[in-house]
Each structure stands twice: as C-alpha cells, then as structure tokens.
C-alpha cells in the first residue's frame, strides 16, 4: 500500500494519485518514486506538477478521442446492420422469385390438366 501522505503539496499529491503512468508502475518502483517526490525541492515539485498536468491533458484528449470513436462506431453499427439486412432481404427476394416461378409452373400444369 503506497503512502501518498508523504507528499505535502496537496495539488501534487492529487496529480500523482491520478497519474495513469505512475499508477501503472510496479509497487516497489512506485514506493521509490513516492520517496523521491516527497523530497523534491519546490522547483522540482513545480516541474513535476507541470508534467503531470500535461499528462492528464493527454489522457483527457484520449477520452475525447474515445468518445468520438464511439460515436463513429455507433454510426458504423447501423451501417453494418443495414448491410446485413439488405443482403438477407435480397436473398429472400430472389428465393421468393424462385418459389413463385416453381409454383406458377406447377399451377399451370394443374390448370392444363383440369
């Protein structure tokens, strides 16, 4: 369990806790990093905050891209369904034509026999 309270700067602490890249680290490395961050001088903390804010923006941008992609996929899904339905309908229409043709032949034969 990582102790984030060693980072006194609250803003930095929140950024660290929400950093996807930091959270992706192994526990041992995360612990080492927390120790280093806690002991960073003011200037270093500011640099790190800038970096983590940029990272957060990047992931936010990624989420926007995801949402756009989702919207596009939703449209694509309708097209996919339409493609399948259209094609199946085409098959049914052709099958129906065959069936009608066969029925007509048989019916004509019957009428001829009557």
């Amino acid at each position: 369990m990582i102790d984030y309270t060693t980072i006194n700067n609250q803003q930095l602490r929140e950024l660290v806790m929400n950093s996807v890249s930091i959270q992706s680290l192994a526990e041992e490395e995360k612990a080492t990093l927390m120790q280093q961050i806690a002991n960073l001088p003011q200037k270093g903390q500011e640099e790190l905050m800038q970096t983590l804010m940029k990272e957060a923006q990047r992931f936010e941008h990624g989420q926007v891209l995801d949402q756009q992609q989702q919207a596009q996929m939703q449209e694509d899904l309708l097209q996919v369904i339409k493609l399948k339905n259209d094609m199946e309908k085409d098959v049914r229409v052709e099958q129906e034509k065959i069936e009608i043709g066969q029925s007509s032949t048989l019916a004509d034969n019957l009428l001829n026999h009557l």
Binding site: S24, E55, L77, K84, M87, V93, L110
Partner: protein, 268 residues
C-alpha cells in the same frame, strides 16, 4: 390414389399462387427502405464487434453461394456480386479489433511518454533514475524472499565479511546520495548471492579493515570490495557492483563521478 395426392398437392400450389397473385410484387426499393434500422440501438463495442463479425460471415456465405442453391446462374451471380459490394463497404468501416488496438497504442504511448518525462525530472534532481520496474521485480523475486527493507537489513557484525559490509553500508549512509536505499538494496541483493559462503574457510587473520585502500576478502570468494575509507565520498564498488552498474546506468554514472572526485582530491 396417386392422382388424388397429386391433385391435392397441386391445389395447394394453386392456392399459393392465388395468394401471391393478390399480393404486391416484391420491389427492391420498398424492401430496402424497410430494412434500414430506424430505432436507436443499445450501443456498446461488443455489440458492434458481434454484428460486424456476424455480417462478415453472412456476406461471405452469400458470396460463396451457400445461401442460394436453386435459381438461375444469373440470379446467383447477381447475389454474389451484391455480396461482394457489401463486403467492400464493410471493409471500409473500421474493424473493431483495430479500433481497440489503436486505443491501447495511444494509452501505452501516453504512459511511456509520461514516465519518461517524470524520470527525466527525477534524474535531474537525484542524479539517478529509478530502477526499471521489471528489473526491480526480478531482483526482488531473486532476493531469497527477503522484503525490500534496507533500513531493517541486519548484518552479522560478528562475521568478518559482515563487519566489512556493515562498514560499507555505514559509509554509504553518510553519502549525500539520495538514492542510497536503492543502491543498498542492490548491494544487498549481491550479498544475498554470497549467502552460501562458508565463512569458516576464510583464512584466519584476514584483514577486514575497510579503511584500507584495497580490501580483498575474496580468498575463495567471488566477492570483492574496494573502499577509499578516508574520503567520505570515495566509495568504489566497481568490482562488487558490476550488477548494480548494469542494472542502473545512473548509478554507474554516480559511482564514476565519485571516483573522479576522489582522483581530484588525491591530485590536489
């Protein structure tokens, strides 16, 4: 009997024909309009992937002539041609797997770049980047189940080698090197590698005075420490810490810098 059954069958067909005759003939335009999904569909990626794969399979079956066995050749060719066009349209849409792969690539790239930026800052302030996660995990796994806790690491001060190493550690702790825990951890790992040393085989009277310039308690051992005891920053673990150096180039750089400082002090 046969005629009766035949007649019955034919009457059925006749009835069917009458039904068809009264129904409007299928027209392509009206059929197409009716199959466009008009209602909102609960969307999720799995649905998209399932529908995409299902459609691809259906179109493939039609294109391969699996759906239409009867009918004229012209009819079958027409359907195959339509299926081919539909497949091309489907291929123009994004494959769900590639969408997922793109997203994962973006995430991995963001994490890699994020960590690189963080490490750069740490390197700037601590003259040493953190040990790579995979390397640290590997070292932890091979360290005889001893948890990473340098501050509680106990050295048997009664054993000559333990005494020597203890002195090295004491000295290391006085250095203004912030990443001393990491360094001691790696050295500890090295010590764990020599835990099978039979101390009784060390010749009696071997000097373990680490203040001397060259300590070589390595008779029968594959372990060597050199330590410039009189210089506070003069730690030279070149031989003993080859693994440390390989594990972290920043540590190697640090040790080299210390050597240079020692050399400068000695020259002046």
């Amino acid at each position: 009997m046969k005629t009766f059954l035949q007649s019955k069958f034919n009457l059925g067909v006749l009835a069917k024909r009458l039904v068809y005759a009264s129904a409007p003939a299928p027209s392509e335009g009206s059929e197409r309009a009716s199959v466009t999904p008009k209602t909102a569909i609960d969307f999720d990626e799995d649905t998209y992937e399932r529908k995409y794969n299902e459609t691809k399979r259906v179109l493939g079956d039609i294109q391969n002539g699996k759906k239409i066995e009867a009918g004229t050749q012209q009819m079958r060719d027409l359907l195959k041609s339509k299926a081919q066009m539909a497949i091309e349209k489907l291929d123009a849409l994004k494959d769900p797997q590639s969408i997922r792969a793109e997203r994962e690539d973006y995430r991995k790239k963001s994490i890699t770049e994020g960590l690189a930026a963080i490490r750069k800052i740490m390197q700037e302030y601590y003259s040493g980047a953190p040990v790579k996660a995979d390397k640290a995990a590997e070292l932890v796994a091979s360290a005889d189940d001893q948890p990473y806790a340098p501050e509680t690491f106990e050295i048997n001060a009664n054993a000559p080698i333990g005494h020597a190493i203890g002195r090295v550690f004491d000295k290391l702790k006085t250095l203004s090197y912030v990443k001393v825990d990491e360094l001691t951890y790696l050295i500890k790992k090295q010590i764990s590698n020599i835990s099978e040393i039979d101390f009784s085989k060390i010749p009696a009277g071997t000097s373990w005075d680490i203040a001397s310039d060259q300590i070589s308690p390595n008779k029968g051992l594959s372990f060597k420490v050199t330590f410039n005891g009189d210089k506070n920053f003069g730690v030279d673990l070149v031989e003993a810490t080859k693994e440390v150096r390989n594990a972290n180039p920043a540590i190697a750089q640090y040790l080299d810098n210390q050597k240079e400082k020692v050399a400068k002090v000695e020259n002046t």
